[in-house]
């Protein structure tokens, strides 16, 4: 029970997906022009993530290691198709608003990241807790970012006017540049908090400390390659 709670709560703060693990940036940027859209996107992700975690965990011992990624993608894709149809039936305006980002949940790194990092190694119940926690953390983050952008960019929150009719909306915030800058500043804030906490506890932080997307190995492979290329470039100069 205690471990169930632990897996559930880590997604809410310690490993908050978009802000701490830096996973699933595309939807985080794209659908947070209003708080409502963020909430809707989050709900769809909770559904897919929790179920895909459970299913993957159930079949984790059957899937051959070599084709596991394709299997994970196929499982996630079937769930996304289910979400698409549910949204078309019960929340059509939201479905229209989110546009292509509903089908793109398939390639959201949160789904594959959690499948690889957690569900493929743990029993179903724990995986469910992990999926729910991560999904709820993702939803809260999206709603938070959406609330900031909506309240500055349109002067409303969940469609309710905040500052009265005299407010001049800061349109930058609801457009693409505002999304990037806003998320960047939030991430910087999270990093600042991390550094401050580490200093208070007297822990030395890793000097190469970088909030990278730890879920998918893609960036790490790239980093290695970049470092290698740099070395090659430097070598002749040294020799």
């Amino acid at each position: 029970m205690a471990s169930l709670m632990k897996e559930f709560t880590k997604g809410l703060w310690k490993e908050l997906p978009p802000f701490r693990l830096v996973l699933g940036l595309c939807p985080t940027l794209a659908v947070t022009n209003t708080a409502n859209n963020g909430l809707g996107m989050g709900a769809a992700v909770i559904f897919v993530l929790a179920l895909s975690n459970v299913i993957i965990s159930l079949v984790r011992n059957i899937i051959p290691k070599k084709v596991r990624i394709v299997c994970f993608i196929a499982i996630a894709a079937s769930l996304v198709v289910a979400v698409e149809m549910l949204m078309q039936a019960f929340a059509y305006p939201l479905y229209e608003q989110l546009g292509i980002f509903v089908p793109l949940i398939v390639v959201n790194c949160i789904i594959l990241g959690r499948a690889e990092a957690f569900a493929a190694k743990n029993p179903p119940l724990l995986s469910l807790a992990d999926g729910l926690g991560m999904g709820i953390g993702f939803t809260l983050s999206l709603t938070f970012l959406g609330a900031i952008r909506e309240s500055f960019g349109a002067g409303t929150l969940f469609g309710v006017s905040l500052f009265g009719p005299d407010f001049e909306p800061f349109t930058f915030m609801v457009q693409a540049p505002g999304a990037f800058v806003c998320l960047g500043l939030i991430l910087a804030g999270m990093n600042y908090l991390n550094i401050w906490q580490a200093k208070r506890k007297g822990i030395e932080l890793d000097p190469n400390f970088d909030a990278g997307c730890s879920g998918c190995g893609a960036c790490k492979a790239m980093d290695k390659l970049a470092a290698q290329k740099k070395l090659e470039r430097l070598q002749p100069a040294k020799g």
Binding site: L25, G184, L185, N191, N194, G212, C216, K229
Partner: protein, 191 residues
């Protein structure tokens, strides 16, 4: 003329990374070195064109006639995954030099949302086959452009004193915001 406008607008005005928020993970992850950025961009161009072509044909000649359009997402992602595998095997056998430069990027592209995004986008906009492929070329070129610009700027970051909490992804995102702001100026060019 219209096609030309579509081409230009997909590269600059509706840039896939900076205006449509697609492919952000490689945009931030693979932009630390110009050579890597170029390799990734080239691989994305290659796969996006192939994927759009194949998914378009499948959508028009398999999914629509058999009333299976609701399976679009699952079919497209599996087609892309299979395609990437085939391209990798083909290049390895037939064009080893190209494989050497693009090979490592190919497996990463399966889960790049720019590829699936473009494939779905052209279906939603109901472009015909030729227009779809042109759009795919333009969108992927826009991705390459954004990636290389970002890599160029990021190489300067290494010799710059950045506040510790801003290092890495946060400064990258703020930079992307400024670039996106600059790219918004291209809107006047088309309209």
């Amino acid at each position: 003329m219209e096609t030309f406008l579509l081409f230009i607008s997909a590269i600059f005005v509706n840039n896939i990374v900076l205006a449509q928020y697609l492919g952000n993970c490689p945009y931030l992850g693979c932009s630390k070195e110009k050579g890597v950025a170029f390799g990734m961009g080239a691989a994305v161009i290659f796969v996006t064109i192939m994927a759009t072509l194949f998914t378009h044909i499948i959508q028009q000649y398999v999914l629509f006639p058999f009333h299976l359009a609701y399976l679009q997402t699952i079919v497209f992602i599996l087609v892309i995954a299979a395609l990437v595998q085939f391209v990798e095997m083909f290049l390895k056998k037939m064009v080893p030099p190209l494989y050497k430069s693009l090979g490592i990027f190919l497996p990463l592209i399966t889960t790049n949302c720019a590829v699936l995004g473009v494939a779905i986008l052209v279906q939603r906009k109901e472009y015909d086959l030729v227009t779809s492929v042109i759009y795919a070329v333009a969108a992927a070129t826009g991705f390459l452009l954004a990636l290389i610009l970002m890599a160029g700027i990021r190489e300067r970051f290494e010799v710059t004193r950045i506040p510790r909490s801003m290092r890495g992804v946060p400064i990258g995102l703020v930079m992307a915001g400024l670039m996106s702001l600059a790219f918004m100026a291209f809107k006047g060019m088309i309209a």
